[in-house]
């Protein structure tokens, strides 16, 4: 069989999933080697995804039908501009995994390393699969792969508190998964098809039925839970704060985005099938605006730096959802760019926070006073990340805030525009508190005074990510130009 780029699309999710099965075998010889192996796999996946992205820009979307069955009967994977999200996904994993090498030494028992790396690969495979598939049932399956591996990753450090946080996450997560399955079943019962675009076309051809609306609504609710949109966020803070830092980075930066990608799929489905989304959009905007403020507000009262970062995720999901709900070109582009930017920034922040926790053994602001002087590089990265998440120019966060805000104002939604712009101020209050303790207060703990910068396998990714926060801020126009055609298609379908 000759090589074709379309076939390579199928390899993208399969590569990490298959490698996950091999991790325990590698780990039997040497637990460290499992880390190296995982890194190589993530790197290969990232390289493949980047190659496909270049291909995509040159030639347009790539599709593959698994098992050779043609759509609508076969399972279709589509590498389009939305599916290109898998490239940053794999890249972030390739940065998180080397960070985890040394981090695990202090926080996860050695016999669980193999499980950790295998779960990370499963998670990556699931995430990629989720962003590529246009088959509704496979969407559910990929989501479950991600969810189950996430539940396990939260608990991987092995303490009872982690297990309790993981179980809370699991119970709510499973209900939302069930809703997805129910919606898929309902859509199948209505149309006899599972391919997203085929389903939409058949829905459009048939009489509008409340059942179809019910299916879309339950899909939307399910994804809103996965995205931890306020007020369905309750599972998130504990799970993200208690997990080991590399896991927190993945969960907070990447896994919650499943909900967002899912919402985009719902918008596609609704748009192509001609089901009006007005009420839904209004609700998204309202909840998004509330989430921006509430997430930031709740974060102010946290003393634990990871808990603080977890709450800020809720606030940032608010930005994205608000942008999607506005359903005008600038806002949706800004929202999708923020899917990437928030991932970048949040991974930076969690890894930097992880470095600080790993080097000092402390995790509350009260204890970490003066740490900026002993860990200057890590704290500088943290500062840059904080500036980016607040959306100060010229960092990555500013770009997304700018475009979402522009969308809000140009759509005449002045109130939402102001909510967005001023919500960020709330966010700023707690980051100022963090920077004050890091830089402008005297150390009170000996651990802080004695701390040294982490090893390069941890410091390297953190510095690279922090630099990226700045670079993306300066060249954010490229991201925007990349995503704009996809947004145009999405909105054109919704407008018809």
């Amino acid at each position: 069989m000759t090589f074709s780029w379309s076939q390579a699309v199928a390899w993208l999710p399969v590569l990490p999933l298959a490698a996950a099965a091999l991790v325990p075998i590698v780990a039997q010889r040497n637990a460290r080697a499992a880390g190296g192996f995982t890194f190589v796999v993530t790197l290969l996946t990232a390289a493949l995804a980047v190659a496909l992205t270049i291909r995509l820009v040159a030639e347009g979307p790539l599709t593959v039908h698994l098992g050779g069955w043609v759509a609508p009967y076969g399972i279709e994977l589509r590498f389009d501009r939305l599916g290109a999200w898998s490239a940053p996904l794999a890249t972030f994993f390739a940065l998180v995994v080397p960070f985890a090498w040394r981090y695990l030494e202090g926080s996860v028992p050695r016999e669980r390393w193999a499980a950790f790396y295998a779960l990370m690969l499963l998670n990556l495979g699931g995430l990629i699969g989720f962003s590529l598939t246009v088959d509704l049932f496979n969407l559910f399956l990929a989501m479950e792969v991600v969810s189950i591996s996430s539940y396990a990753l939260v608990a991987v450090a092995g303490r009872g508190t982690a297990a309790w946080a993981a179980l809370k996450y699991l119970l709510l997560g499973s209900v939302s998964s069930l809703l997805v399955l129910f919606a898929v079943a309902l859509l199948f019962a209505l149309t006899g098809s599972l391919n997203l675009f085929d389903v939409a076309a058949r829905l459009a051809a048939s009489e509008p039925s409340p059942a179809a609306t019910l299916a879309l609504a339950s899909l939307a609710v399910a994804f809103v839970v996965k995205a931890a949109l306020f007020p369905l966020h309750v599972w998130l803070p504990d799970a993200h704060a208690i997990a080991p830092s590399p896991v927190s980075a993945v969960l907070s930066g990447l896994v919650v985005k499943i909900g967002i990608v899912g919402l985009v799929r719902v918008m596609q489905l609704a748009g192509e099938s001609g089901i009006a989304l007005d009420v839904f959009s209004e609700l998204l905007m309202l909840l998004g605006a509330v989430a921006i403020v509430m997430g930031a507000f709740l974060a102010i009262f946290q003393d634990d730096i990871k808990l603080m970062l977890a709450y800020s995720t809720i606030s940032n999901i608010g930005y994205i959802v608000l942008g999607l709900g506005l359903a005008v070109p600038f806002a949706v582009s800004g929202a999708l760019v923020h899917v990437f930017n928030h991932a970048l920034i949040k991974v930076t922040l969690f890894l930097a926070a992880g470095s600080i926790i790993h080097q000092t053994g402390l995790r509350t602001l009260t204890d970490l006073r003066g740490v900026g002087r002993t860990l200057p590089q890590t704290c500088a990265a943290m500062t840059l990340g904080a500036m980016a998440i607040v959306g100060l120019p010229p960092t990555a966060g500013f770009i997304s805030k700018w475009y979402i805000g522009l969308g809000a104002f140009s759509a005449g939604r002045v109130a939402y525009g102001f909510a967005l712009v001023f919500g960020a101020l709330f966010v700023f209050i707690y980051y100022v508190r963090m920077l004050n303790t890091f830089y402008f207060q005297r150390a009170t703990r000996e651990e802080v005074v004695a701390a040294v910068e982490p090893p390069w396998s941890m410091r390297g990714p953190v510095i690279a990510l922090a630099a990226a926060c700045l670079i993306v801020g300066l060249f954010g126009g490229i991201l925007l130009a990349f995503i704009t055609p996809a947004v145009g298609e999405l909105l054109a379908a919704m407008g018809s």
Binding site: I148, A152, G160, L186, L194
Partner: protein, 116 residues
């Protein structure tokens, strides 16, 4: 059979789903919560299989004796896969409950809430 204008199969599904949801939300015992989740899963599976049913059709296994009408096989495949997923989730949840019990000595949510 049709009841209140809705197929009774679907009503059964709704009732089952609500029973599961009630257990999940109201019960304090983690194991009972998990059982509630399982009941909800079963409800959805039942709905899925029902969706593929065709009145008077044969099972979708092609032998010499099957007629022209046979049930849609795709829901069956989906349910089988779904059961596998559900079993995995249950397994992970049970493992977590065991760990919680080992650490806190209880699996009652009311008691867990007060603990650090």
């Amino acid at each position: 059979m049709v009841l209140f204008g809705v197929d009774v199969d679907y009503l059964a599904f709704v009732v089952l789903f609500c029973v599961g949801l009630y257990m999940l939300v109201r019960k304090s015992n983690l194991l009972k919560k998990l059982l509630g989740l399982n009941v909800m899963e079963t409800a959805v599976f039942a709905f899925l299989v029902t969706a593929g049913m065709i009145e008077g059709a044969d099972p979708p296994i092609r032998t010499a004796g099957t007629g022209p009408l046979f049930a849609n096989p795709i829901p069956h495949a989906m349910v089988l896969t779904g059961i596998v997923v559900a079993v995995s989730v249950t397994a992970v949840a049970l493992a977590l409950i065991v760990q919680i019990h080992a650490h806190y000595g209880t699996i009652e949510v009311d008691e867990l809430k007060g603990l650090p």
